[in-house]
Subunit: 338 residues, 2 copies
DNA sequence: TTGAAAGCGCTAACAA
DNA sequence: TTGTTAGCGCTTTCAA
C-alpha cells in the first residue's frame, strides 16, 4: 500500500506538500511542485487512506442510513435518492435495515457512530414510539451527531424531522374518491402508533366529515406497510359479499398487495373497486390500471435530509426543527378516468 | 468524545489494559481489573472509535456492496441477505448503487477502497463486459482486496464468482411450459452481453431443441432486467393479434412488468397467457396468480459471498474460483394448476 | 512556497 | 497481570 510519504519521496518534497496538493490547501503550492506531486501520485498509483484522514481530521465522509427495509419500495426509493444526494455532496452511505427489529436498529446506530458517521438518517419506520425509544434512545442521546427523521415524528433527540403533509394529502386523496360518487371509502391503514399513519387517517376522516358522511360507519383495516400483509388482508376484505367499492390505502406498498388481491379475485379496477393511495413510488405508474396516488417529493426530502446532516442551512434552526413538504395528487386510472 | 485514555484514568489503569478488556485479549486481565474497566466504560459512556482501530490494525469491519439498483427487487433481496450475513460475522455494509452508470460504479469502488473495505461484492449487473472493464478494471486490479461477483461472470480480477445454474434452471422452467402443451414459448430476455442472460437463453433453447421444436420460429424480446422496461415491451408484445400464449421470462422483475401489462390488457394468466420465470423473489408469491419460477438460493449466495470476502474456506481456492449453486423450480399457478 | 513535527485514538510488542 | 511506548497515514500548525 502506497502512503503519502512514499509519494513525497518520489516527488522529492515533503508529505505536507503532498497534502496541500491533494486537498487543494490550506497552503499554496507552486505549479512546478504540484506537477511533480501529481506525477508521483500517478506513477505510484497512490490512493489516500480515508480512514487515516478521518482519524486525523475527526470528520468522515460517511452518512449512516437506517431504513426499515429497503425491499419496501418506498424505503428503497428514498435510500437511492439519499445516495444521489450524498454523492453530490461527496459523501457515502453506510446502510442498515432494521427490519422491525429494535435491537438490530440499535446495533446499526452503534456501528455507525463508531465509524464516526457524519450523521444518521432514519427512513420512515413502522416502529411505535415506545419501541423506538427503548434501545435506541440512550445511544442517540449521548451522540453528538445530526439526526434526521424522514417520514416519522421523532424530535426528542433534537433531530430534524422531515415530513410531508400527510393529513392534507390523505384528505385530498379521499375527496377524489368522494368526487367519483363513493359514499363508502374504506380506510386501509398502517398499524397505528406511527405518526404518519395517524395523520393520514385524520385526513381521510376530514374528507368524510366535510362531506357529511358518517365516519364510524366506514370499514377499517390495519396492516403493516408492506405488500404481503396487505395482500392477505385485502384477500379477506375483498372476498366478502359486503366488500368495499372504494379504498383509501395508506401506502403504495399496500396498494400493490390490494391490486394483486383484487386481480386474483377477478375484480377489475376501477369498475369493481376504486383505489386511491399514498406515496407515489415508481411502480404506481405501471400498477394496472395506473394508480391514483398522493405523491411525496422523495428526491427533495432526500436532498434536504443530506443538507441537514451536513449542516447546510441549519444555522437558525431550533433543536427540534420540523420540515413539512407538500404532496401532490397524481391522478391516473384507479378511481376512474379522471 | 471519551477516549480510551480517559477510561484508563477513570479505572486507575493503563490504556493497554482497557484494550485487553475490550478486545478480550491478547493479554489476560484479572477479574477485579476487568470489573473496574467495565465500570469506567459504563460510567463515561465510552464507545471505541472504529476509525482509529481500523487505522492501527489496518483492517476494517466494512464490506462494500455495489448493486445495480436496490430498487430492483432481486438486488434488494440480495442486499438484505448480504446485510444479514455481514451482521452475523460482525461486519457492516457500505452500499452503492451503480444504476447502470459506469463512472458511478468506479467512484463507489474508489470510495470503498479508500475506506479500507474488507472486500467488495458486486450484485448482478446489466453491464456488458466491455463497459464493466472500462472504468473499474484498472482500479480493482491494483487493489488487494477480495472481490465477489454475484450472478455475473467476471474472473479477470481474480475474484470469486457465485452463480446459479442458469442454463439448467431455464431449461427446467421452459420444459414446464412445454409440459403444459405449449409449442410456442417466447423468450423474454434481458439484454445480451450479460453472462446469466446468455445462459438462460441457452437453457430455453435446450428445452425446445430437446422437444424437437424449431427455436428460430420463436418470439424473442430483449429488455433490461427491470419491470418498467418489461412492462412497455410486454404491452406491445401482448397487444398484437399474434401474441404469444406462453412466455419464459428471464427474471421475476420482468415478469412483474409482464403481468401488469397482461392485466392491463384484460388478459388472464394462465388461461390467456402462461408464464414461467426466474429468480424466486418474494413478490413472485403474491403476483397473481402466483408465479411459477426458478428460485435462486439468495440467502445461501449471500452467506457464501460474505464468507469469501472474510476469507473463510478460501484457502485451497484458485484465483478464479467459480461457485455454482442449484436453482429449484417453484410451481405455482402462472402456467396452470400444477 | 516549503518542511518538520505533533498527534488524532487505537493496538500490541516489549518490558517489568 | 500490567504498563510503556512506538507507530498506523494523515492534517495542519509553526517555523523557515
Amino acid at each position: 500500500m502506497v502512503t503519502r510519504d512514499e509519494v513525497a519521496r518520489e516527488a522529492g518534497t515533503s508529505s505536507a506538500v503532498v497534502s496541500y496538493v491533494i486537498n487543494n490547501g490550506p497552503r499554496n503550492v507552486s505549479e512546478a511542485t504540484r506537477a511533480r506531486v501529481l506525477a508521483a501520485i500517478d506513477k505510484l498509483g497512490y490512493r489516500p487512506n480515508a480512514v487515516a484522514r478521518s482519524l486525523r481530521s475527526s470528520s468522515s465522509s460517511i452518512i449512516g442510513v437506517i431504513a426499515t427495509d429497503v425491499s419496501n419500495a418506498y424505503c428503497g426509493e428514498l435510500a437511492l435518492q439519499l445516495e444521489n444526494s450524498a454523492l453530490a455532496h461527496g459523501h457515502t452511505l453506510l446502510l442498515g435495515n432494521s427490519v422491525h427489529d429494535d435491537d438490530r436498529q440499535a446495533k446499526h446506530v452503534e456501528t455507525f457512530l463508531a465509524q464516526q458517521a457524519r450523521g444518521i438518517v432514519f427512513i420512515g419506520s413502522t416502529f411505535g414510539d415506545e419501541q423506538f425509544r427503548a434501545a435506541t434512545s440512550r445511544i442517540l442521546r449521548s451522540a453528538r451527531v445530526p439526526l434526521v427523521f424522514l417520514d416519522r415524528t421523532r424530535t426528542e433527540f433534537g433531530g430534524v424531522t422531515i415530513l410531508v403533509d400527510n393529513r392534507g394529502g390523505a384528505r385530498e386523496a379521499t375527496e377524489h374518491l368522494l368526487n367519483h360518487g363513493h359514499r363508502l371509502v374504506a380506510n386501509f391503514s398502517g398499524v397505528p402508533g406511527h405518526s404518519a399513519i395517524q395523520e393520514r387517517s385524520a385526513g381521510w376522516s376530514d374528507a368524510l366529515s366535510a362531506a357529511g358522511i358518517e365516519v364510524t360507519a366506514q370499514r377499517q383495516v390495519e396492516t403493516p406497510l408492506d405488500r404481503y400483509e396487505a395482500f392477505k388482508a385485502a384477500r379477506t376484505l375483498l372476498s366478502g359479499h359486503d366488500r368495499p367499492r372504494a379504498i383509501f390505502s395508506h401506502s403504495d406498498e399496500q396498494s400493490i398487495g390490494i391490486v394483486h388481491a383484487a386481480t386474483d379475485l377477478g375484480l377489475r379496477i376501477p369498475q369493481d373497486l376504486a383505489l386511491v393511495s399514498f406515496d407515489g413510488i415508481k411502480e404506481s405508474e405501471i400498477l394496472p390500471p395506473g394508480l391514483t396516488t398522493a405523491r411525496q417529493p422523495v428526491a427533495q426530502m432526500a436532498e434536504l435530509a443530506v443538507k441537514m446532516i451536513l449542516g447546510e442551512g441549519q444555522e437558525g434552526l431550533d433543536e427540534q426543527h420540523q420540515e413539512v413538504l407538500p404532496v401532490d395528487l397524481v391522478v391516473r386510472h384507479s378511481c376512474g378516468d379522471h
